[in-house]
């Protein structure tokens, strides 16, 4: 069974529908990214699946339970990294990690988690004194301390410097290698591309496209082939370049100038959300 199954999910705030019929399936052990601009409905969707908000319509199953009624045992199996929290400002990093670890049946040792997110040097510092990026890393530590089967990460790397982001990506890959299912939201395309087995583009409360980083948006249909024929630049958009290239080989074309470009995920993504507007 899938870790997450969602059919026709809907949510409105004061009559304004912001999640407009979302279908999702996340397999066990998969890293799934919800990619979309600000206000797309990523946090709303994630928090419904975490059991923090109520849905107005549709079906949702998370680790086999309805998130709206998931109990203690269910909560022990999921890990949550919220988009914004500034709780426990007057505790130290180690105190908070130990405190939260105590609620889980088989937690990771606090020191190990703090090391994993690279906060060992800040262990004894008050949470209040952490920078934005360090605070996010603490949130990640608190999300994984209970050894979750399924981890939700809502824009986890906002405010990270490039080095911290790379370290965080390594951490996610490690968790995924251990078999953790991960649902991640982001508006950083390269993050989705780097981490996700599959991803969905969300804009304005709807899923516009879904696939792997390579198949998303039917990217294969738009491969661009350019070459020079007697010095003249030629360009063609094709689904499968094989046929065209075979033809070109048979001609006098100068194949030293041949280029085959698949659109980047970024091109596809920007096209998708532009088309939506």
């Amino acid at each position: 069974m899938n870790a997450i199954e969602v059919r026709g999910l809907r949510k409105s705030y004061r009559g304004q529908e912001v999640v407009r019929g979302i279908d999702l399936e996340v397999a066990r052990g998969e890293v799934f990214a919800l990619l979309g601009p600000n206000g797309a409905g990523k946090t709303t969707t994630t928090e419904i699946l975490e059991g923090h908000r109520r849905r107005d319509g549709g079906d949702a199953s998370v680790l086999g339970a309805d998130p709206a009624t998931g109990g203690r045992e269910w909560r022990a199996r999921i890990g949550i990294v919220l988009q914004d929290a500034d709780d426990a400002a007057d505790l130290s990093v180690a105190e908070m990690v130990r405190h939260i670890a105590g609620f889980y049946p088989g937690p990771r040792p606090a020191a190990e988690v703090i090391e994993l997110v690279g906060l060992t040097a800040k262990s004894k510092s008050r949470i209040r004194s952490l920078s934005g990026g360090q605070r996010r890393r603490l949130d990640v530590a608190l999300g994984i301390v209970g050894r979750p089967e399924l981890l939700f990460l809502d824009e986890p790397t906002t405010g990270f410097d490039p080095q911290a982001r790379r370290q965080f990506w390594d951490l996610i890959r490690e968790l995924a290698a251990e078999g953790t299912t991960i649902l991640l939201t982001t508006h950083y395309l390269e993050e989705a591309e780097a981490l996700a087995d599959r991803l969905a583009v969300l804009a304005d409360g709807r899923i516009l496209a879904e696939g792997t980083p390579t198949t998303l948006g039917g990217g294969a249909q738009t491969t661009k082939v350019t070459w020079r024929d007697n010095g003249v630049l030629k360009e063609e958009q094709v689904t499968d370049p094989t046929e065209l290239i075979r033809k070109l080989v048979a001609t006098e074309a100068d194949l030293r100038t041949l280029t085959v470009t698949r659109p980047t995920l970024e091109d596809i993504y920007l096209n998708l959300i532009k088309g939506d507007k």
Binding site: R53, R54, R75, L82, D86, D87, D90, M96, H99, F103
Partner: protein
């Protein structure tokens, strides 16, 4: 981990965080003691027919205010704050139960209330020469204290539900506190100066009964003549506070939400 163990773990960090927040310590704690010093000094040279000084009467009544401030205000503002800064959301994402969370808050509130009462009784005894009562009065003090703290905490929790933003919580919660102090005769001595209809209104709420009970504990028996009923009415005090305790509990069970989103 059991509900009780998690509750104690919450209580531990609640106390730790409170002590580390200097402004909270000063305002919650020192303010009632400061008022007692002011009132006691201003009216210090007034004596009742029984020879009890007004400052002693204030020392006893002010304990009711101390508990309101540490239990009702701390609980109400604390809950509003926890809802706003993500504490409740964070906890709700873990296997902790609501009971453990509330137990943690109650531990904080009890710790604060005990310390507050020690401070106020200390000021009363050391600065205003209030004599300390005998063992049987301390027994009454014990149930009165427990009932007062639990009632005020539950009501604080219930009221926090209507607080939209944590930064206004203090202001909102202090409206009933200050109003009830005055009509319940905590700042007024003797209580019978108040118009009788106002005394009747105050009698609906717990504060009057708390203050009256603490006057019983700390003042000589002849002082009962100064009470509206001419007696201490311990049974009625227990009854009214018990009723409010139940009302508070019901309101909490009906209104407690982990998040504001329905």
């Amino acid at each position: 981990m059991s509900t009780a163990t998690m509750g104690f773990s919450r209580g531990h960090v609640e106390v730790l965080m409170f002590l580390r927040d200097r402004t909270a310590v000063i305002f919650t704690f020192a303010f009632p003691a400061m008022l007692l010093l002011l009132f006691g000094t201003i009216f210090g040279d007034q004596y009742t027919d029984a020879g009890v000084s007004a400052s002693n009467v204030f020392s006893a009544s002010m304990i009711a205010y101390g508990i309101l401030s540490t239990a009702f205000v701390t609980m109400g503002a604390g809950l509003a704050m926890d809802r706003e800064d993500g504490t409740l959301k964070r906890l709700h994402g873990t296997p902790i139960t609501a009971t453990s969370y509330v137990l943690g808050k109650l531990i904080l509130v009890f710790a604060l209330s005990v310390a507050e009462v020690i401070l106020l009784v200390g000021v009363g005894a050391l600065v205003f020469d209030m004599p300390l009562p005998d063992a049987s009065h301390w027994l009454t003090f014990t149930w009165l204290f427990l009932l007062s703290v639990i009632t005020c905490s539950l009501l604080g929790m219930a009221v926090s539900g209507i607080v939209k933003h944590a930064r206004t919580a203090g202001a909102i919660l202090n409206v009933p506190v200050v109003a009830l102090q005055f009509i319940s005769g905590v700042f007024i001595y003797p209580v019978t100066q108040l118009p009788s209809w106002l005394i009747n209104v105050a009698a609906i709420f717990p504060v009057k009964w708390m203050a009256q009970g603490f006057r019983y504990v700390f003042l000589p028996d002849v002082m009962k003549d100064q009470e509206p009923a001419g007696q201490w009415e311990l049974g009625r005090i227990a009854l009214v506070l018990g009723a409010w305790c139940v009302i508070g509990l019901v309101l909490c069970l009906l209104t407690f939400r982990w998040s504001r989103d329905k």
